[in-house]
Symmetry: C2
Subunit: 640 residues, 2 copies
């Protein structure tokens, strides 16, 4: 099937391959094969446990029956929340990316069956939303602000694009195009302006444009971005919906976190195709606001439970962190687009940080239960659940993990950028007919020693861009090519790509060493709740102290000294190997049996503390054993 191969060649997570305003071009998901002990088993678990169990949840909760009902195959009322179609679409996208990376006849058959149900539910005019059927037909598009119709359509678009790119089949793509045409007829130029209260469709529309080249979809996406902040407002005018201000004027991440992050994704997609400088400048301001004022140390986003929203600047509570798993995914999606627009490593840095510390905690080690919120401190009550009534996060994690191989590399005009490190093999086409095979040997993220073997190279010079992450001490990094030290090439600041340009020879080996001592991280002092506290970071991983590793004391009573020594040790959690950090800490001994809430200040560090051996584990691994208190930010005792 030629079409399959053709499309699979372009199975990039976001296909900016031909986007005129991008600096980098993504490589197909299928180009990279992970063979490591960290990601490869997770992707396998995603394929073998997560994706099948999610299909089962979608069936059992009536999410797929809603399509059968809409097509008249079964009778009864719509079941569940009005945006439940989107969970099915996200599952379809996850299944598609999984197929792109790893053909699987059973999964493909399951997916085809679901696609058939979805296609049957589409109306003759292209409309598709199973909630707005029967008596609710008259309510279609009557409440754009709240009812997520266009949002659901957007997830269909993304699923359809992934499915086409992965399999070459047009079954879902044609459904998506008919619905996109319907939306265009309703909300395109010359029509009444409209957009969704929950952004999402913008990026889906741009991706449809990239697949079929029909500029109407790009125009509609642009129009949906430009409609925000209109006077009078089209979507109610609130920051919750990012409708308080035109996007091009925005400079603060605000309102519902997932929505604002998805809006940024859509705007970045439009910039990639149009070069709109006002939108690009807004994106830069928003990114600065996010990363300097509103981001958790994990990369997590969204501080408030109320409105699932960004907080004020520096408002980053720990126990009540909302940090929705979907928001972290939205951040990775946004940073992925920014990375390709600009080629700047700061975006890849944030993708790595967020992947390990804000997305991975959202799924259990066995791949079958999920966090919606990801607090950075807890008393042991917050536990993952197998599914949710509002189940946006589970299939969002699944589609991200399924597409993960696509995030490791990009190509530029003169070479290859290496964004992420893991044991893997990649075949990367840097120009038509000119491919490079890169084999990474590394124990990343546990070790920062990475060997990149160029097993095959084209007969031309090209540059290898290696990301030196923001967390590394620049003076400790070393680089060699075929054993010859090239450390002097490591000019510049951490958090940048280091370029090595040469006529490579098959068998060349680049060795990059990124030392990973444990770092104590502190927050800006205006993050009032973190003052006097530090988080432990080792390489890209943020750590936490959990009761399960520290039976002798309550982790909320732990403090560490600022001159503390750390010792890394391999341990197993739920059968998976992690590097734990052992540390000589202190715990309170003056525990007040009355639990007095307020008392006269005793001179905090004059209290009796006793030394304890404490152990920290990667934050992503918490809550996989018995429930108990957990804390990321621990008080630090100043050195005497």
């Amino acid at each position: 099937m030629k079409s399959t191969q053709t499309s699979n060649r372009r199975a990039a997570v976001v296909d900016m391959t031909a986007s005129p305003y991008c600096t980098l071009r993504p490589v197909p998901v299928s180009a990279v094969r992970l063979t490591d002990d960290f990601w490869a088993p997770r992707i396998t678990t995603n394929r073998e446990a997560t994706i099948p169990s999610q299909l089962k949840h979608c069936e059992e909760t009536g999410r797929i029956d809603n399509f059968r009902r809409a097509s008249g195959k079964i009778t009864g009322e719509f079941v569940g929340i009005y945006f439940n179609d989107s969970d099915v679409y996200k599952w379809m996208e996850a299944a598609s990316w999984s197929l792109a990376a790893h053909p699987d006849a059973r999964l493909e058959a399951d997916l085809d069956a679901v696609i058939a149900e979805v296609a049957s539910a589409q109306e003759a005019d292209g409309y598709l939303d199973t909630y707005f059927t029967g008596d609710r037909i008259r309510l279609r598009f009557a409440n754009l602000k709240d009812m997520h119709e266009i949002y659901c359509a957007g997830h269909l678009f993304q699923a359809a694009v992934a499915h086409f790119r992965a399999t070459g089949k047009r079954t879902l793509l044609d459904v998506a195009l008919r619905l996109a045409d319907h939306l265009y007829d309703r909300f395109g130029p010359e029509r009444k302006p409209g957009a969704c209260g929950h952004e999402e469709a913008e990026m889906g529309l741009v991706e449809l444009y990239r697949v079929v080249g029909d500029r109407r979809y790009l125009d509609l996406a642009k129009r949906m971005i430009d409609v925000r902040g209109a006077k009078p407002p089209v979507l109610g005018g609130s920051p919750y919906h990012q409708d308080h201000q035109p996007f091009k004027d925005q400079d603060e991440m605000i309102g519902h976190a997932v929505r604002h992050l998805y809006l940024c994704c859509g705007a970045a997609d439009v910039v990639a195709e149009t070069g709109d400088t006002e939108l690009l400048q807004a994106l830069d301001r928003l990114w600065q606001n996010f990363t300097r004022k509103k981001m958790y140390v994990t990369g997590g986003a969204g501080s408030r439970w109320e409105g699932e929203a960004f907080g004020a600047d520096y408002e980053l509570p720990n126990t009540r962190a909302y940090t929705e798993t979907c928001a972290a995914i939205g951040s990775v999606m946004w940073n992925w687009r920014m990375l390709h627009l600009t080629g700047l490593a700061q975006y890849a840095d944030l993708i790595e940080l967020t992947l390990y510390n804000a997305i991975l905690p959202g799924i259990s080690l066995d791949g079958k239960s999920y966090f919606y919120q990801n607090p950075l401190a807890d008393r042991g009550k917050h536990r993952r659940e197998p599914w949710f009534g509002c189940a946006c996060c589970p299939p969002n994690v699944a589609r991200l993990l399924a597409s993960l191989p696509g995030y490791f590399y990009s190509t530029g005009d003169d070479g290859i950028a290496v964004h992420l490190y893991a044991k893997s093999t990649a075949q990367i086409e840097i120009n038509p007919g000119a491919s490079v095979t890169i084999r990474q040997e590394t124990d990343y993220p546990w070790s920062g020693d990475v060997a990149l073997h160029l097993d095959s190279v084209p007969d031309r010079e090209f540059t290898l861009y290696l990301r030196v992450p923001f967390w590394v001490d620049d003076e400790l990094v070393t680089l060699s090519v075929n054993g010859e030290d090239q450390t002097e090439a490591l000019t510049g600041e951490p958090g940048m790509y280091r370029a090595i340009r040469r006529q490579w020879v098959a068998g060349d080996t680049v060795e990059l060493s990124l030392p990973m001592p444990v770092e104590l991280v502190e927050s800006h002092p205006y993050v009032l709740n973190n003052r006097g506290r530090v988080a432990l970071q080792r390489g890209p991983l943020v750590y936490c102290f959990e009761q399960a590793d520290n039976p002798e004391f309550d982790p909320w009573d732990l403090a560490i000294g600022s001159g503390t020594q750390f010792k890394s040790e391999g341990i197993e959690i739920d059968g998976q190997s992690v590097i734990a950090i052992n540390v000589d800490g202190l715990t309170r001994t003056d525990v007040d049996p009355q639990d007095t809430l307020y008392s006269s200040y005793s001179g905090e560090w004059d209290e009796d503390f006793k030394p304890v051996s404490a152990r920290a584990i990667p934050y992503y691994a918490w809550a996989n054993r018995e429930a108990g208190p957990m804390v990321v930010w621990v008080p630090v005792r100043p050195q005497e």
Copy 2:
């Protein structure tokens, strides 16, 4: 008019005078005349500015028109939120208490006019709720959980009781009784169980019982408490409505804070009349949970914006503190009842703390604008407003301030308990025909030196119980009678009443000295966001650092040393005298122009700090000048 005088003699804030299970009995609001510089001007402002301006707001926002509409005097649709009637009732209660303390013909006429509107709106069957008129008649009592009908009735009951006690007029009382009868017929014994999603009516019903002696009202109140936590649930079964568990089994303050606090008030009222030990034990458990796990240092209650709710144990965020002014008032109302049930000073301590630090911040110094939420740290964006769409707090503050004189004393079987201190004169009947005139001379809350002059006494022994507040250092307190040291009488722990029993002679003077050095207060370490921080307290007042007093640095950059000396200084804020605290502090000098959110730990106290003179003001006075950052909990640098 004899009836007026009779009722005025009983114008107690909550008339537990004849409650069989109370240890103490309140004194009438009219018995105490405040002549001090702190409360007296506030009560005058309340009468002259606050109460008239609130009537104007009620008129201008259509709240009173809703009654005119219900009675058919004007046409049109109900305006505003469905529970807006309650704001009018709370205003009526405020006006009534004000009349009890200070007759005012103009205010009485205004009140009579509003009462006439309310009375006209009542239906023949006693029903009264202006939202459920016209097309909504069929929805009456259809949604007890959400629609606040019985809640509004409860505020009418409280207003009617206050009005009757203050003026002797039955105009509003008769309206209330007809509505109470209507509720009894609907929800009394043998009927379908019902209660309100927002508790309030329970205490109003018990007060009606106290006024007219009709036991049905007490039975209905008890039934409404007992219905909570029923299986199957009557009110949805959620903690938000305190419907997750029978009240008698509850041990955690949870859900909507004002609701739970009001429920506790109603339960305490029922205990006062019935002696129900299960309810009393639940109240004690809930009070322990509140004060040991869920209370702000100000006495404020309710940590979460979402659901206006209590948080988990130790969840007491500062910038996003919700601490609704109404919740603080609910706490005072609850503690007032607990105080009379038990005679324990801990409840009076909390009343004092909450009055000064959690209710007073809710109203501007000029008495014309209000806080709904009371954060303990802010960047200068949170400002008081003249009114709200949901205007529960403003008239709640007004009714509390109007009734404040009633909170100073109670009587017991053998004497008088002095709860609060302020320059004042009180005439207190300890038995029929046996009165004591107490004149307090003091600069409280700025000084803890209190002279109590017994200007007239009956010819019998009685005990004077003096509250020694929880915040005082017991070893520094002194007590004398007519200049003779009686300090040895000060046995026991702080936070108790000290008893002096004797045959008093007119002209006796008791001098109590409660030294008020500045105290540094720390939190339980599980209040993670306060670790390493202290709050300043002087006497009953909690302090804060505000930009207006500290132009040279940002208060969020301030730290103080643990051995810091403090100097009190009288200053003026918006024309009002306060004692400020001057302190030698430190501010950061390493302000990062990049505002990096996370960086390697530098050893916090090794950073460059420079000494600064800083000034703290009472927290209640913040946000009365130009907007700017404010903080209560400041980092403390351990002593070298």
